[in-house]
Symmetry: C2
């Protein structure tokens, strides 16, 4: 993509109303634009990242056997009356009548709707187990929206719902999602800690929150150092022993940790770090299937209420967490897996015909090799171009100027380390496309 | 995907409340489920098709140079007061106060919001021209939602907005979208007719509707037969002469055609067919940039209000139009480009170990070759499996039973023609993967 034809409104000044670093950087780097309190438009660069995060979440849900559908944003209040949650849910639920006076709401979550869909479709134990998920915009009318998209009102969530015949099945579905979550975050280059969570009013006895470690995180966590040592390979094999180990390792939020009389983790293995919650999973059993009258015929002919679990990932929130976990003084440092482009190609002298021709040629090579490249072909000062590239945090910068070009060299800079190398054009291309 | 682990609630009976064939077939084939009047959940099979349609639309927008972003569904009423449309828009706009009493609405379209975003980002003629688009859910509170997703209330739309310095630029942006639309529909295997449209209250003097030809279409069209002869190659080259020819060819809705004193098309070249509107483009000029105070500095230092156009495609509606244009007595006939899977693999005897082993192996080969396959591995009667496959309309059916297997053969059926061929397993796989 040529920057001269793109839409990347970067901002030099630090926005006055942004309190946390991810919010500041997302505004400055032209990723988002506020359109109302707690509501944001995703500008082109930000939307590219959002779609990459979404796609990783999707692929890991699919690999775990979950099936994707899409439920609408607007729901009838009647559904929530059936489960008893319409009155229980507070003013965070955005409610309104439609033109005929029917009470509607903007869905903050979908347990009721998925149960209704299942109710109209599944009659027999042979159709179980099933886990269905969707990735859809939700609305929660926060009384004090803040921290940009981290605590916004309209946000993108992946929510999955499992249906099983019995408790053993529910446990297996829960564990499959548990591992899928760890894989999802690992693919994004993040260290995630699954924290045992109090289940609260949603009921059931099994629940974990997933926190991304970041020094600027909102929660203080205490956990067994063994959780940091889980390898990608262990997650991919994910046998029963691995899962038992992972779900069993000690990890608590500060408040819960303080209540523990004797911490089971020896002091030298107890880690304390800050984290940002980006996922939450629950096994809650028959709460909705009972209240909404969903039962299936078991193998013995009896009617059984399926056991349910629900599994959420804050897809848009993840982008904030990724930036909190990966930035420096100069700007964002994207992990390769979610970077909007892999390479930023900088022509230092767009007004020099030789430079422009060479940069155009390099751009053509990178495109042919399907390397996602943002090509700064604008007639701007080199310093401004560097600052923009560092701010938007693409993993690699390929810099071309008249002096290097005379020698046939370009500079390759790795954003994360700041390392720069002078290379022949061929070597630089080989490095990026290899 | 194994059908035994999928979620495909097909319905035998024709739904009583569905009046048109696409609505009936979408309900019967388990593509959608109504969750409130005019509001639908997209079940897994339907959502696969929707995503394919969306992706074709996206790719053709990108090729035309448009840049994707995503604007939120909920907008502040204040924005629409600035343009003067808040009061002009009727009860189809879903309006509500948030918890603080701020007047909000569910966006039916985004001219105001994109103008506001542009206003905060672009100062100079050097940043023009630009066309931005998004693919987002919209809500229009129809007084009588009907015809399934063809006239629903929550629907998916691609809307693009172009900004140009002058009228010549606007014309060029308009023509780029015009051609992109024809390419988009051609890639989906559809015959589209661009109909000159009255511009109405949105203003401006250039507007086209795009209709998909279908015998069951809602509108009667009269057009020059030359419009049917535009080849894919002509659309891909899309030089000035082609565009001038295409935008100039005669095509009118019946009502407008009736007003024409003397039709310029000779009788033998005048076609009359029915169509379904799936796209609408407008060049409207400075309506929003003036009312909302967007101006940029021109090369001569003066301030200029950019000229705008807007360009919509009903992405979810397209699915209905594709089914209206492609179905028979037995069910849907998907064009390959949007089919949810390319192949339906039918094991006639899931209870036969040899058949199951052979079908599993074929399924493995198709997966390795990345052929999207829906594998009916359920223990059901062959007749029911055939009926389901015809109903859901995958382009190819690969049928395996005990008698053929003894000879090493399978049956390959093309859904569109009904042609069946007995082939060796190897030949059948070669045909599908080749």
């Amino acid at each position: 993509m040529r920057l001269s034809r793109y839409f990347l409104p970067v901002v030099k000044e630090t926005p006055a109303d942004a309190q946390i670093v991810s919010h500041k950087l997302m505004l400055r780097a032209g990723l988002i634009r506020q359109t109302a309190a707690g509501i944001y438009a995703w500008l082109p660069l930000g939307y590219r990242v959002l779609r990459k995060i979404e796609q990783i979440v999707r692929e890991e849900q699919d690999k775990a056997g979950a099936v994707e559908l899409l439920m609408p944003t607007i729901q009838p209040a009647e559904l929530w009356r059936q489960s008893g949650r319409y009155d229980a849910y507070g003013p965070e639920m955005l409610r309104f009548p439609d033109r005929k006076g029917t009470e509607m709401l903007y869905g903050p979550t979908n347990e009721e709707m998925i149960t209704q869909i299942f109710l109209g479709s599944v009659k027999s134990y042979r159709d179980l187990p099933r886990t269905l998920y969707h990735i859809q915009w939700k609305f929660r009318d926060e009384v004090r929206p803040r921290f940009g998209i981290m605590r916004g009102r309209e946000f993108l969530m992946k929510d999955a719902y499992s249906f099983d015949l019995d408790e053993a099945g529910l446990k297996a579905s829960y564990e499959a999602m548990f591992v899928a979550y760890l894989r999802t975050f690992a693919r994004m280059g993040l260290q995630a800690v699954p924290v045992r969570a109090p289940t609260g009013p949603i009921g059931g006895d099994l629940s974990h929150e997933f926190h991304i470690l970041a020094d600027t995180g909102e929660s203080a966590l205490f956990y067994d150092a063994a959780l940091e040592d889980v390898s990608r390979e262990e997650l991919l094999s994910a046998d029963a022993a691995t899962i038992a180990k992972l779900t069993g390792l000690y990890a608590m939020e500060e408040e819960e940790h303080a209540k523990v009389a004797e911490c089971p983790v020896p002091a030298e293995r107890l880690r304390s770090r800050r984290g940002i919650e980006v996922g939450h999973i629950f096994a809650f059993g028959t709460k909705y299937t009972k209240s909404m009258g969903l039962s299936v015929q078991a193998a013995d002919g009896s009617q059984v209420h399926p056991r349910m679990g629900s599994y959420g990932i804050g897809v848009s929130r993840l982008m904030g967490a990724i930036i909190e976990a990966g930035h420096d003084e100069a700007g964002i440092v994207w992990p390769e897996a979610v970077a909007p482009f892999q390479v930023g190609l900088v022509n230092m002298r767009a007004d020099d015909a030789n430079c422009a021709a060479a940069a155009d040629e390099i751009y053509g090579h990178l495109n042919s090799a399907e390397i996602e490249t943002l090509y700064d072909d604008r007639d701007e000062r080199g310093g401004a171009k560097f600052a923009t590239m560092d701010l938007i945090g693409l993993p690699w910068q390929l810099i071309l100027g008249p002096r290097g070009l005379e020698k046939g060299t370009v500079e390759l800079k790795q954003r994360a380390t700041g390392e720069r190398e002078e290379l022949s054009i061929e070597s630089a291309l080989a490095r990026l496309t290899g």
